[in-house]
C-alpha cells in the first residue's frame, strides 16, 4: 500500500477571530501525506505549522478558531465535516499526536501507567487490567528502562527524554496510522534528541505508521523526512522531496533559511540573514506574504499572491520569481 495518500489537505484555511480582527493563521494550505512516509512541516514561529496540525486533530482553540475553507481527507473521510463523536474515534486513536513539552502535556498528578491506560480505555472497551498490560507493552516498545516500575512513576520523577518516551508510548498505545509529532525534540538536549529521533524512526518501521513531523529545525528535516512542506506566514512556500529541496531550493525563503543555519561540517564566515521579521497575519493580505523580506521581489509580488506550481516533477513552489533549477547550493 506504500505510495497511496493517507492524508490529503486541500485549500485549508484556519482563521482566528481576535479583538483586533481576523488572524489568518493558516491561509490556503494544500499537501498530501503518503502512507508509510515521514513528511516534514517546517517553518518559523507563526508560520502556521502547528495550527495546520491542530486543524487535522480539530484541536485548535474554539470558538475563536474556525476552519473557514478547505478539506482534510484522512483515510477517505473529510475530517472538517465530521461530527464530534466521529472525531473522537479518530483523535488519539488512528491519529495520535506528541507535543513539544512533555512536562506540560502529561498530567502531573497521575502515574504514567494510569495516563496511558486511560487513553487506551477512552478508545477501546477493555478491562483496566488489560489496558495496563498494553501500557506496559508500550513502555517496553519505546525503550524505557525498568518499565514495570515506571508504570507507577509520576512525570516529575522522570527526565525530559524519559517523559518524551512516555508521551510516545501513550501515542502508539492505540496503534495509530498517523503520528503527528509537533517539535518533539525541541525542548531536549542534542544527545537525547538523537535518541528520540532514532526511536521515532524505528517505531515508524515497526508499526507501519506515517509521520507528520513539525519542526523549525532544517537539520532534523534533512535527517528524518522523506518529503518536506516549507511554510511561511500561513501559506506553503515550497513542497518537495527532501533531497531535491535541499539540492535545489526554489523559493527565496527556503534558500534564505538554508543559508542562515550553521552546519558543523562546514566553515562559514558570515551567515546570511533574511532581513526584517515575519509579517502580522491580521486581516487579508494582498500579494506574496514574503515579498517585504525578499531580495527577488518585483511589482507583481506585491499585487498578487503566487499560486502553487509544479516547477519540477514532485517539486512545488509558490513564487513569481523562483530560483531556477541547477543553481542551488551556495549563495553566489
Amino acid at each position: 500500500m506504500a505510495g497511496d495518500v493517507l492524508l490529503s489537505i486541500r485549500g485549508l484555511k484556519t482563521h482566528f477571530s481576535t479583538p483586533n480582527g481576523i488572524v489568518t493563521a493558516v491561509d490556503g494550505v494544500s499537501f498530501d501525506l503518503k502512507r508509510g512516509e515521514t513528511l516534514g512541516l517546517v517553518g518559523e514561529s507563526g508560520s502556521g505549522k502547528t495550527v495546520t496540525a491542530l486543524s487535522v486533530m480539530r484541536l485548535y482553540a474554539k470558538p475563536q478558531g474556525r476552519i473557514v475553507a478547505g478539506e482534510i481527507v484522512f483515510d477517505g473521510q473529510d475530517i472538517t465535516k465530521m461530527d464530534d463523536r466521529d472525531m473522537h474515534t479518530i483523535r488519539g486513536n488512528s491519529i495520535a499526536m506528541i507535543f513539544q513539552e512533555p512536562m506540560t502535556s502529561l498530567n502531573p498528578v497521575y502515574t504514567i501507567g494510569r495516563q496511558i491506560a486511560e487513553a487506551i480505555q477512552a478508545h477501546r472497551k477493555i478491562k483496566t487490567k488489560e489496558a495496563w498490560d498494553i501500557a506496559l507493552e508500550s513502555l517496553k516498545k519505546v525503550g524505557i528502562p525498568d518499565p514495570e516500575r515506571r508504570l507507577y512513576s509520576f512525570p516529575y520523577e522522570m527526565s525530559g527524554g524519559m517523559r518524551q518516551r512516555a508521551m510516545i508510548a501513550m501515542a502508539i498505545s492505540c496503534k495509530p496510522t498517523l503520528l503527528i509529532a509537533d517539535e518533539p525534540t525541541t525542548a531536549l538536549d542534542v544527545t537525547i534528541q538523537a535518541q528520540i529521533l532514532q526511536l521515532i524512526g524505528e517505531l515508524k518501521e515497526k508499526l507501519g505508521m506515517s509521520i507528520l513531523m513539525i519542526t523549525h529545525d532544517l537539520a532534523v528535516v534533512a535527517e528524518i523526512t522523506d518529503r518536506v512542506v516549507v511554510m511561511y506566514a500561513g501559506r506553503v512556500a515550497e513542497y518537495a522531496d527532501t533531497v531535491s529541496l535541499f539540492a535545489d531550493p526554489m523559493h527565496p525563503y527556503t534558500r534564505g533559511l538554508m543559508d542562515s543555519i550553521t552546519d558543523i561540517e562546514k566553515e562559514t564566515k558570515q551567515l546570511y540573514s533574511i532581513p526584517g521579521t515575519v509579517p502580522s497575519l491580521l486581516g487579508e493580505t494582498v500579494g506574496c506574504r514574503f515579498a517585504n523580506r525578499c531580495d527577488r521581489a518585483t511589482s507583481v509580488c506585491l499585487e498578487k499572491a503566487p499560486e502553487m506550481l509544479e516547477a519540477a516533477k514532485g517539486h512545488w513552489v509558490s513564487c513569481w520569481n523562483r530560483l531556477g533549477t541547477g543553481n542551488g547550493g551556495a549563495r553566489k
Binding site: E44, T191, A194, A222, T242, S260, P275
Partner: protein, 321 residues
C-alpha cells in the same frame, strides 16, 4: 604574546539543596574545578547540555553569584572577592546578554530606561535628556531606529528585544561580554541576524566574548576556542578547528555525532549516546561520564581524570589520553 583578559582557576560552585519529597538534603556541584583562560579579542565558547554548569560559570564570572572556591582574575587582578564600589567598577567592564529577551527587559520601563539604567547607576549620564542621547546612539549601533527610545518592550519582536539587550550590555563600553544563550529563543532567520551583529560589534568595539550555548553549530560559527562541559566539569578545551577535526573526549565525540546535519544526502552513522545525564545530586564516582561512555574502564569508575594538555592548546580530561 597574546594577553589573557580573563583567567578562571579551579572555580567551584556548590548549591545546597533541601526540601522536596522526603526532605532530601545534599549538595549539587554545579561547577567543579573549572579552569580556563580567555585571550583578549577572542570569542571563547562554552558548550554543553542542560545542567552542565555553563550558565553558572557565566554568572560566577559576572559575580552575580559567589564561588564556593577558586579564583577569577580579570585583566591580571583578582576579582573573586571584590565588594561594593570595586565590584561595581569591574561590572562596567564585564557585561552580560541573556537568553530570554522577553524576561530580561523590564516591561514597565521604556527602552531608554532599560538601556539607560546602567548609565544612571554608574553616573555616566547625569540627566534623563543626556541618557536619551546615549540611548539613541546605542540603538543605531545595534541596528534599531533611534526614534524607538521612548517605546516599551512589548512593542518589539523577539529579535528586536535581543538587540535591545545587546545595546544595554554595550552601554557601559565593556571589554568582556558574557552572552548566555543569546540566540536560542529566536527563530533561525533572526538567529543569523543577531550572530552577525555580535560579530560586527566585536570587531568595531574590540570586545571579547564568552559565548555560552547548547547549539554546537552556532558556537562553532562564532568561537575561536571552545570548552565542552559535562556535569559541572570541563571535558575538553581546544581551538575550534582542532576540536572539530580531532575531538578526543568520548563525550565530545558523542555530542558531535548527535547533531543532525542539514543535508539529506549526508546521513551519517551515529553513535547515539545511551541513557541520561546522571543526577547532579548523586554524581557517579570517578569520571562523571563513566555511566554513558563506550570506552569505560575500571579506572574510570574510581579515579577522577584531570584536565591535561595533550597537544598545544588542546586539553582533555579523560583516562584514555
Amino acid at each position: 604574546m597574546s594577553e589573557f583578559i580573563l583567567r578562571v582557576e579551579r572555580l567551584t560552585k556548590e548549591f545546597a539543596v533541601h526540601g522536596g519529597v522526603g526532605n532530601r538534603r545534599g549538595v549539587v556541584k554545579a561547577v567543579s574545578d573549572v579552569t580556563f583562560s580567555v585571550e583578549r579579542g577572542q570569542t571563547f565558547g562554552i558548550v554543553g547540555e542542560s545542567g552542565c554548569g555553563k550558565s553558572t560559570t557565566g554568572r560566577l564570572i559576572m559575580r552575580l553569584i559567589n564561588p564556593t572556591s577558586g579564583r577569577i582574575e580579570f585583566r591580571g587582578s583578582d576579582i573573586t572577592s571584590l565588594k561594593g564600589d570595586a565590584l561595581r567598577g569591574i561590572r562596567r567592564k564585564i557585561q552580560m546578554v541573556f537568553q530570554d529577551p522577553y524576561a530580561s527587559l523590564n516591561p514597565r520601563m521604556n527602552i531608554s530606561g532599560n538601556i539607560g539604567e546602567p548609565l544612571m547607576i554608574h553616573r555616566i549620564a547625569s540627566s534623563a535628556a543626556q541618557r536619551d542621547e546615549f540611548v539613541k546612539e546605542l540603538l543605531s549601533t545595534v541596528g534599531l531606529n533611534p526614534d524607538y527610545y521612548s517605546r516599551y518592550p512589548f512593542e518589539f519582536s523577539g529579535g528586536q528585544r535581543q538587540r535591545i539587550g545587546i545595546a544595554r550590555a554595550l552601554s557601559l563600553s565593556p571589554e568582556l561580554i558574557i552572552a548566555d544563550e543569546p540566540v536560542s529563543a529566536l527563530d533561525v532567520s533572526l538567529q543569523a541576524q543577531i550572530i552577525n551583529l555580535l560579530q560586527d560589534l566585536k570587531e568595531k568595539k574590540n570586545l571579547t566574548y564568552i559565548f555560552i550555548a547548547h547549539d554546537l553549530g552556532v558556537v562553532k560559527h562564532i568561537s575561536d576556542h571552545i570548552a565542552v562541559m559535562y556535569l559541572g566539569k570541563i571535558a575538553e578545551i581546544a581551538g575550534k578547528r582542532e576540536l572539530f577535526s580531532t575531538p578526543l573526549h568520548p563525550y565530545t565525540v558523542a555530542l558531535f555525532s548527535s547533531i543532525p546535519i542539514p543535508n539529506p544526502t549526508r546521513k551519517k552513522m551515529r553513535a547515539v549516546l545511551m541513557g541520561d545525564m546522571p543526577s547532579p545530586l548523586s554524581p557517579p564516582p570517578g569520571c562523571l561520564f563513566n555511566t554513558r561512555c563506550t570506552h569505560v574502564t575500571e579506572r574510570c569508575r574510581t579515579e577522577i581524570p584531570v584536565l591535561k594538555e595533550v597537544a598545544p592548546g588542546h586539553l582533555v580530561a579523560c583516562h584514555l589520553y
